[in-house]
Symmetry: C2
Subunit: 351 residues, 2 copies
């Protein structure tokens, strides 16, 4: 599998899907009823300028709607944004679509290996940014990053950004899991400031609001660039359900708070329990998924879990990882305990 969440290949919808990083609380309560009260919007073309959607995002992100563009999931925005450069730096391991899209868009890729602990090799990254000076270059980093869940320290962010500013390289941050990270900075604040002018942030409703089928992504950047990119987009690329949902989900403050604290609690629980096994290396995630490294191939564990109706993400198709790595989602306690129980069973079976 190239991606997680491929339950359509691996079995029926009753699988417990630990391969997909979706908010276990499900979409905000009341959304279903709300969208059906708005159903007849489907009879009309969406507002070609998506004024209401942007207004809702503007309030949620606390930035002018001039700095915002919306897309058909984060994917459309990732593709469109990276297509603008001749060169792109991609530190790995990272979301496999960066490479796939850069390949399709015929962008020169500079793939940067991580340090031993899979963290960003900042020195190397700074060097490579400087090498792209005035070469229509960009760098894309997940923040937090998939699959290791690492977020960028503020000091590293400013180092990377300064190098980008000096070299006229654009810094693209894929923040599809941003809400979960509870960082001491909010990159969106920088998009309006002149000092941070070449920062582009991509986020989505997909993961955090548990709405992967809705296809709603958004991006924040300097207003001039937003206008340029928007003028290149296909018209009506966001469907009317996603457009309408923005009037509901981004206003549900209770859901947002609860999702963050719930994930923090369950992630910490899982990390602590997984560490007790002593046979996994557990990467310290800031997101809603956890990368694990096993001593041997993940294949038998994968099959054991699948037989028990539980799907995990094999990680060998992430550049830099191999078949010892797996990624699991943070889910509700009952499922997390089910996973832990099966892992215990598996370990006992083998010993």
């Amino acid at each position: 599998m190239i991606h997680g969440a491929d339950i359509w290949t691996y079995g029926d919808e009753n699988l417990i899907d630990f391969s997909s990083n979706i908010n276990p609380l499900g979409y905000p309560e009341g959304l279903r009823e709300f969208l059906f009260s708005q159903f007849d919007n489907v009879k009309r073309y969406p507002d070609i300028k998506y004024r209401l959607l942007k207004d809702n995002l503007s309030k949620y992100l606390k930035i002018s709607s001039k700095n915002i563009i919306a897309g058909n999931g984060a994917m459309e925005l990732i593709d469109l944004i990276i297509s603008r450069y001749e060169n792109i730096i991609i530190p790995y391991p990272s979301f496999v679509e960066y490479e796939i899209r850069a390949n399709i868009r015929k962008i020169n890729m500079n793939l940067i290996p991580p340090k031993k602990d899979l963290s960003l090799d900042i020195e190397r990254i700074l060097k490579e940014i400087r090498r792209l000076k005035d070469k229509n270059g960009s760098i894309i980093i997940g923040n937090p990053n998939n699959p290791n869940g690492y977020a960028i320290d503020y000091s590293h962010l400013t180092d990377i950004h300064s190098a980008c500013m000096e070299s006229e390289v654009d810094l693209i941050l894929d923040e599809a899991f941003f809400e979960y990270a509870e960082l001491d900075y909010d990159t969106v604040e920088y998009a309006e400031s002149k000092e941070f002018k070449n920062i582009i942030i991509i986020r989505a409703a997909t993961k955090f609001f548990a709405l992967p089928g809705l296809r709603l992504g958004y991006s924040v950047m300097q207003s001039g660039l937003a206008k340029i990119i928007e003028d290149q987009m296909n018209p009506w690329s966001i469907n009317s359900f996603a457009d309408s949902a923005s009037s509901y989900i981004f206003k549900d403050e209770d859901y947002i708070k609860k999702s963050i604290s719930f994930n923090r609690m369950e992630r910490n629980y899982l990390i602590s329990e997984l560490n007790k096994f002593g046979i996994f290396r557990v990467y310290d995630s800031k997101s809603n998924f956890i990368l694990l490294k096993m001593e041997n191939s993940n294949r038998k564990l994968f099959e054991f879990l699948l037989k028990n109706n539980l799907l995990i993400r094999l990680c060998q198709n992430f550049r830099g990882l191999d078949d010892r790595y797996i990624r699991i989602a943070v889910k509700s306690r009952i499922y997390n305990d089910r996973l832990l129980k099966l892992l215990h069973d598996y370990v006992n079976l083998k010993s």
Copy 2:
């Protein structure tokens, strides 16, 4: 306005929108409830291969799903397909997005003027196709064409296609309004045949099923090409509501039949009534909209109708047309009569 249906700029949703070519019967009855019952698909990523969607399309179109790709509305497919060529022939007047996308994609355009009656200049088109021999070229034609509603005669289609075959030029047919045209041929049949190998058909649920907000387009072509194009698409570009809707709308044979006969009846009624005015040139549409040419500028009529809560499509931004042209949709009798009444009022006011 670049497009019709921009009620978001021109006023509220109570406008009678004659600028937008949407089936006046509305979406199939029961669809709302059906999509409600399927709502929780939104919690999961859509099948990355869209197996069920393609199976539904395969049955509707009577062609193997290997020949089908689906997209986020016809727009995504138009953009993606024309982006593959270095050269494109665009007979005009036609859907404004052909030129817009070709410009953005940096494709060389060869814009072919129509004959005096706005029909395709077949001789000129054949000549231009031959000039593109072995130059990675394509031609895109609306069938029926927006804004004049003309469909391609079978004999012209085969002439154009033969020239394309000889010159290795791909023939892209934008058939967003195909169902309404009731032609004596079905282009989809040709996509599987070797004789017609370089034909690419683009259609959509948008217009015929009155679902512009759903964003569901599809394309039919040789299976090898379908695979190549699909491999270049962003993953999950079709939302789960569009995916689910395919299990309902394409099976609703009563709705399909009724929509076609209803449109035929109302179109013929409108054409006949409009001709009685004696002051419009009425273009003989095969679609669900009608192009009209007035003696003078459309501006006063547009404003008069808008004051009376009725929006029409001004056509001066269609290449080859000017401010004497307007396009109206075919709607239900009560609205069609309202339009005719207002046109009479307008004519009487002026005389």
